[in-house]
Amino acid sequence: MQRIGVFVCWCGSNIAGTVDVHKVAEALKSEPGVVIATQYQYMCSEAGQTLIKDAIRDHKLTGIVVCSCSPRMHEATFRKTAAAAGLNPYMVEIANIREQCSWIHKDMEVGTEKAIILGRAAIAKVHLNAPLVAGESPVVKRALVIGGGIAGIQTALDIADAGFPVDIVETKPTIGGKMAQIDKTFPTLDCAACILTPKMVDAAQHDKINIYAYSEVAEVKGFVGNFSVKIKQKARMVDPVKCTGCGLCVEKCPMKKVPNEFNLGMDKRSAIYIPFAQAVPKVATIDPTACLKMKTGKCGLCATVCEAGAIDYTQQDSFIEEKYGAIVVATGYNPINLDQFDEFAYNQSPDVVTSLEFERLTNAAGPTAGTLLRPSDGKHPHTLVFVQCVGSRCDGAEKGKSYCSKICCMYTAKHAMLCREKYPDTEVYVFYIDVRTPGKNFDEFYRRAVEEYGVKYIKGMVGKVAPQADGSLLVQASDLIEGEQLKIKADMVVLAAAIEPDQSARPLATMLTASMDTNDFFTEAHPKLRPVESPTAGVFLSGCCQGPKDIPETVSQASGAAAKVIGLLVKDSLTCNPCVAHSDELMCNGCSACEKVCPYGAITYQDKEFRMPDRTTAIRRVASVNPAVCQGCGACTVACPSGAMDLNGFSNSQIMAEVDAICK
């Protein structure tokens, strides 16, 4: 007969406040098999755990039930405690009488009665627990970083410096991400390219880092320590090994009217292109939708011009299958689409630009070679209006995003400051709701923009931007402090658009079974305590894929994610979850219903010889589960009609015992 110990935790007043812990302990003492039932203020504390260890030794307990907080909090703690006292860690059951009882019921009597029932259910379950031993599964000592922006590069560099090989997969022809498009960075105003390109070069030259540019993740299988990923390398029509990046083909290419994504379509590029000078890898790429040779078969000038003979029009998409121990998501962000915000006339006038477009306009490698000119007539803008919170802090249901995009106040202060510093003759207005500068030297930076450079910050929103016949823009806004309605004739309007995750994030999350919130940001394992890990073991989050953040925070999170990956890859093997399925061969029909529903392909079949009841032997086809691959979801146990397939830790009889205890 089992000898069970029940330990009811007060959790200070969290439980004891609305559940009579003494009454619960008393009631559970009379349950069958219970030899000791006590209670203590903090079961998870050192003293509490010693109380359990002593009870296990003194009463020679074979199973313990802790009535405390959610198993998701301290199941591991109490399992370690049991193991320390020599009891198999899987002979521990937790009754959740805090989050699911004391915290949600005000009435002491109701709370106590429910706590007793939950306690009884846990006791009924622990009676049927079997001692389990966690298996081991090897860790592949290689990491995959999805996304080649500053987040991906920083994570890859840190992991590679720890000596582990890393692959970076980037959808664009070059790594660098959004930071490569930015001109200066706040709060120190150093040039984005100057601090980014050395890191890109380090990543390219690092012997442990391998970059798959112009590629995307096609399929992910397996689980932590043992992912197998299929990477699709899109055809560049250029051999990356031979191409020296000299750019001759780009010059000679006759088709020059393709909108240049790098400059957000504000200028044109040729069909064969290198996104920007410091591109890594510095390899040309042919855009099949624009290239005359690909579309009509004529031309082929780039092939003739190329001394390295790197052009190959017949190149096809190729797939690479690779094994990884950990995967880091660094898919980054994009500004939102502004079609819904037609009050700002973004689609009606080229002089209404987003902040990212403004970055390109002020960037030396931009469409206007660094001089700020109006996209419509190329003239020098005299009056500029910056509009904050475009699409951010909305109600999020029909229009815009409900969250604050965090970085717009700072980069707008930077834009305003640079604009006033380079062109003192301009008048710069910034319409804001609140200026949010939560960082080191951030507020001082914003004050410099106001005090030193005379940027006119006006508290109130812009209601309407109306393009006028003379090409200027009539901005109608309200000044809440003066209580006036302003009508400003502006030459340019810059919208601080909200940012949202890259659209490759949602399909990637499904592939990785990582969960996402309603705005498609990856959900972290714990918002405060585990921000760089996904709840899915082995998947880590770096940068804006987890939420809006600026470059300093992105880099610190990237290194955080790298530290977590290194912590995983250092291990040679992982103890894998022992709560896996197992099949009772005598009852198995071999009908392969379970194999069809297993998401991990953990079930295989073999013909085995059995002594049948009438003393004959017969060959029967029976299922067998590979404990290293099985993750314990239980789909097979329900697909199996005869009940041969059962799950350790959540067996049919255990769950039915819990149901009985609850309904008694």
């Binding site: 009050e343 109600d395 209601g463």
Partner: protein
């Protein structure tokens, strides 16, 4: 009949059918309001006045009659607070009291001129009389 401050505020909020607390004081409604200059209280102020319970000042103000009910503020409000609904609720709270019709049917012909669109008369009746 006089309402004390609390029930009047509740009536206005209930008729408006929107929660004034959702307003984040961005001022976009006032920015787009075509009748801004003629009003002594501006749309974003309506919302904060309703929230603060200053319904009397609102009802006695000139602004609630200046509102064209063009609903630009409702269209543009990022938080869906609908300031126009609050003005309408304040107006209704006023004209629903005894004999407080702002527009009497008999003095319409005097105000008529051919440039006045039919729709304006209809909307005037909707806004200014029970």
């Amino acid at each position: 009949m006089s309402h004390n401050k609390e029930t009047l505020r509740e009536i206005v909020i209930e008729t408006a059918g929107v929660n004034p607390r959702k307003c984040m004081k961005c001022g976009k409604c006032s920015a787009t309001c075509p009748a801004y200059d003629e009003m002594e209280y501006h749309p974003h102020q309506f919302v904060s006045m309703v929230e603060a319970g200053k319904i009397e000042e609102l009802m006695n103000s000139k602004s609630i009659w200046m509102c064209l009910s063009c609903f630009a503020c409702v269209e543009r409000c990022p938080r869906g607070v609908e300031p126009a609904s609050f003005i309408e609720a304040a107006r209704l709270a006023l004209i629903r009291q005894q004999g407080k019709n702002h527009l009497k049917a008999e003095d319409v012909p005097a105000k008529l001129n051919d440039k006045l669109p039919g729709q304006a008369i209809v909307s005037a009746f909707r806004k200014y009389s029970k």
